[in-house]
Symmetry: C2
Subunit: 270 residues, 2 copies
Amino acid sequence: MADLSRLSFNQITVNSWTLREALGGCARHGVPAIGLWRDRVDAMGLGAATKLVKESGIAVSSLCRGGGFPAATQDERRKRIENNLRAIDEAAALGTTVLVLVCGALVGRDLEGSRNMVVEGIAAIETHARERGIKLGIEPLHPMYAADRSVVVTVKQAREIAARFPPESVGVVVDVFHVWHDPDLYSEIEKLQGRIVGFHVSDWPVPLPGILMGRTMMGDGVIELSRIRSAVDKAGYAGPIEVEIFNQKIWDQPGDQVLELMKRRFVECV
Amino acid sequence: MADLSRLSFNQITVNSWTLREALGGCARHGVPAIGLWRDRVDAMGLGAATKLVKESGIAVSSLCRGGGFPAATQDERRKRIENNLRAIDEAAALGTTVLVLVCGALVGRDLEGSRNMVVEGIAAIETHARERGIKLGIEPLHPMYAADRSVVVTVKQAREIAARFPPESVGVVVDVFHVWHDPDLYSEIEKLQGRIVGFHVSDWPVPLPGILMGRTMMGDGVIELSRIRSAVDKAGYAGPIEVEIFNQKIWDQPGDQVLELMKRRFVECV
């Protein structure tokens, strides 16, 4: 029997499923962990979601997402920080130890200023995360999202931000889709020793079908998945490996079919 | 009168124009230089194109493009190198000193191997370039093109490849659209002292309308153009600044209108 012990199903991969359906899918398919999204938890209410997750016996590899720190006004930045503090509480309630940070969009044309707001935002929530036993996972996003999603775009940059904070509370999430192209990828992963708090897999198809909905199932693209996985393992990461795919064609397939394929490709390619 | 002395019109910006029309546009609008594409030169024939360019009095800032080195077979790689040698001759005939290199696509899933093929390709043409007085300009492309256009995706990577060769024959082309997001941009530009052989401007609109046709007119996006221009100037580059825009909406406008706007925005934003 193939080893699925580190496989986690990020629920966005079957976008049509509710939280209840996603947990049911994991149970049916023997997938031991799930990556949750806040909007799906909200749709059910945190209390009911927490109860359902605990009853399911499925581990929660991470909650997605905090972040979104840069904003044009002090007031808006404060609201974003409050929202992150709530996300930390939700993560703790759901029984995960990782809150994924999608750090946030560019403000105006000020890339440096926006990046500073990310550091300030993490500084403002880090103590609360530590107290609740949550690690904040800085996820560098692909540079094509630099303007509208994350001004943090390289492993090096995420590593340098994380290094300002204790490893107990701030780490880095490596997502192959976002970083596979980086000429410094392997040397940077090596430097992340003890700081990796999440590892996400999918694949980069050629041609890319779109900017947001670009990624595909492992094995259907050009990323050297097993090489990156080995590097991440060697850097000391032994946690769940989340399959996170935004892809309309995959979203249009029945969820059970997607999970079957996901399991097979995880074993074959990752 | 605004200073247009360093402005160069890359002819792709008005995609509908032939070479003759593009040169005529430059003359009418007082644009002192043009960036040429090989297919437009081919369409007229090199001899006729060379004659026309010389008669126009418009300087040629660069010829686009060489590169495309990685390929699955030795035979195909050899053909690509021969094609690059011809491109060098064409560049020399047209009176420019710069051949822009779009280094080429990923072969299979072998990013490292493909990158090595780029270095080998440049090594195979460098002497010929030097003898013909042509500088090969390695242009790092945006990482979203890593699989299908250029495995060279950062300024640092381009700089390190260039450093293997003499500065007389190999340099780096900085295009703001491709590198604006790079957290190491300014420190990397500083390290390019004496190696910058081209500077291309356009802008990054939000949201990006597409992968290939994403870029827009200077001032209509989020790139800190004048900051990057200052850094490039400070790194010793005093050559032409090419406006190179692939954008369907701009391509749909009359060329003279595009050139008017280009001139105004160049003065205002760059």
